[in-house]
């Protein structure tokens, strides 16, 4: 796996240290704790205290084939010292007038373990942040196709965002499948 050359990962290279991510950022407000949120989701979903991650880089050629957006920064491989835990994808999708950020965690067999809305930026459609609703994505595999209103329940008053999230996850599953077939993950 190729490591990204962000400061964190430079350190990784130079010192060969295993990077324990402990993102302790006290915070208030909207984007508070974005790192903290992601960190918390990773720790609780994989049930670990500490873990490391690497950014998975994908060549431009491959990126072109994918329907989900990859910018060599938003797909992470999560592992501990001796085992692969899974993968994290951070994406954006449109809501009625803006975009929201979401996190999808896969287990090592690429089955969805967790879905979470990280930031929702408008009033309309914010219902998709509901923990109960997001549970529907858990267990979905690369071969699953999500259909709004069928295997993904509608939410009255949030139709646009529900459809958008459904579409986004469909694209993500298709893209991950391609990456998997190409042995990139």
């Amino acid at each position: 796996m190729v490591l990204n050359s962000k400061i964190f990962f430079d350190m990784n290279f130079k010192f060969g240290l295993i990077l324990f991510v402990s993102l302790i950022t006290l915070s208030f407000g909207l984007h508070k704790d974005l790192n903290k949120k992601i960190d918390k989701e990773i720790r609780t979903t994989y049930n670990v205290e500490t873990y490391s991650y690497n950014v998975i880089t994908i060549s431009q050629e491959v990126v072109k084939e994918l329907t989900a957006k990859f910018d060599n920064n938003n797909l992470l491989k999560i592992h501990t010292k001796d085992e692969l835990l899974g993968y994290a994808y951070i994406g954006k999708a449109p809501s009625k007038t803006d975009e929201f950020d979401y996190l999808i965690l896969f287990d090592k067999d690429l089955i969805i373990m967790k879905s979470k809305i990280l930031i929702y930026r408008e009033d309309y459609g914010g219902e998709i942040g509901s923990k109960r609703w997001l549970k529907q994505f858990i267990g979905k595999t690369l071969t699953d196709e999500l259909v709004y209103g069928d295997n993904i329940a509608a939410i009255s008053g949030a139709t646009i965002s529900v459809k958008s999230m459904t579409l986004a996850i469909n694209k993500l599953l298709q893209s991950i499948k391609i990456l998997h077939n190409k042995n990139i993950i």
Partner: protein, 386 residues
């Protein structure tokens, strides 16, 4: 009372800004990482333009029909930052009437706490808040949402809103300006209840703030439940405000439910308003405002097309029952049974694309008067939302 609003405003804005300061201080100390870099990339889109509208054809039995560009609304939003946003809806009604339907500034303190102020929709029932024509069946909005909840009902106010994702709850609480006791010469009355009193933020007068709140619960798959309350008094002019009957007290509660399961959907609501001091009001203004307004409806729909299709063809049936003279004894007026109305609506909503719907329905209007003959009406129209 104005003072109370001002104090409330100062209180919440101070709270908002203090939170903001803490966040900024901490943010600058934060270390950047990969995830942080992408997510902090400025996402606000600045200006948002949208709109919705409906064009209707109403053909009552035995009368001439009506063709109307019922409403066309331009939505304009501007995002100053991820926290501060301005939203406005400019409405043209029947081509020639111009209204500002909403115009408010909102400030996001956190994911589950926002403050907003300005001209906003009063959360009561389903349609007042979700009034875009692609979101409801039938060419015309349900009449419970016209005669009991006077949609579109928006007034100037200030309040808070937010969501709790863990509990699947949305809350809203506002202090609003209320209905005018007398609105440009029009008074409240038996036919339309409170409808004539809507000030819509146009040089509106205030002497008593009103309180409005709603809770929505969407934690059960496919189901959304709402509970709303509205409490206050109508607004009287300075020169009459101390006279008996210059204003009436309002307590309105609303329950609503929406359900979707695969191709089946259903919705319903119940709204009740208790009005006080109506006897004095009716004497002063020589009108027939009841002391209770009450209405409900239930609707079921089934999508005739498979879910895999982008298009949707809903066939629906709705029954409405509403009475603007649900109680008249305390108002000391004769009960007019013609105001105890019910209607059936049977129709089709053909969603030809996301955001565009063609509608057709037939309505039967009836009331509780003895020997009243049921009247029918055909409605055709289209609605868009983008």
């Amino acid at each position: 009372m104005n003072k109370a609003i001002l104090l409330f405003a100062i209180f919440i804005s101070t709270f908002g800004f203090s939170q903001n300061t803490s966040k900024d201080t901490i943010a600058t100390n934060q270390q950047q990482n990969a995830v942080n870099t992408i997510l902090s990339s400025k996402n606000s889109k600045g200006i948002t333009i949208g709109g919705y509208g409906q064009v209707d054809y109403n053909q009552p039995e035995g009368k001439n029909g009506k063709l109307d560009v019922h409403r066309f609304i331009i939505f304009l939003g501007y995002k100053f930052s991820d926290r501060v946003q301005f939203v406005t809806e400019i409405e043209f009604e029947h081509v020639k009437e111009l209204f500002v339907e909403q115009a408010f500034l909102s400030y996001s303190v956190s994911n589950n706490f926002n403050i907003r102020g300005g001209l906003m929709l009063v959360p009561m029932g389903i349609v007042n808040e979700y009034h875009e024509p692609t979101t409801f069946n039938g060419v015309e909005r349900p009449n419970v949402d016209k005669s009991i909840v006077p949609s579109t009902w928006s007034e100037i106010g200030i309040g808070v809103s937010g969501r709790f994702n863990e509990a699947s709850l949305r809350y809203q609480a506002y202090i609003f300006n209320g209905f005018a006791s007398v609105n440009n010469g029009k008074v409240l009355g038996g036919l339309n209840g409170l409808r004539n009193g809507r000030q819509k933020g146009a040089e509106s007068i205030i002497n008593t703030p009103n309180f409005s709140a709603k809770i929505d619960y969407y934690g059960i798959s496919g189901l959304r439940l709402g509970l709303a309350g509205y409490f206050g008094r109508t607004q009287a002019e300075d020169d009459v405000q101390d006279i008996d009957g210059a204003d009436v007290g309002i307590t309105m509660v609303g329950l609503d439910a929406r359900y979707v399961h695969k191709r089946f959907s259903a919705r319903g609501q119940f709204i009740q308003a208790i009005l006080t001091d109506t006897e004095a009001y009716n004497i002063l203004y020589e009108t027939d405002l009841g002391s209770e307004l009450k209405g409900w409806y239930a609707e079921a729909a089934y999508n005739l097309l498979p879910l895999s299709k982008e298009q949707k063809l809903d066939v629906f049936l709705r029954y409405e029952q509403y009475d603007t003279h649900a109680a008249t004894q305390d108002a000391n007026i004769a009960r007019n049974l013609a105001y105890n109305r019910n209607e059936w609506t049977l129709g089709l909503s053909y969603h030809v694309a996301d955001g565009a719907v063609v509608k057709a329905d037939y309505q039967f209007f009836d009331n509780a008067l003895e020997n009243n003959k049921t009247k029918g009406q055909i409605n055709l129209g289209f609605g868009v939302w983008f």
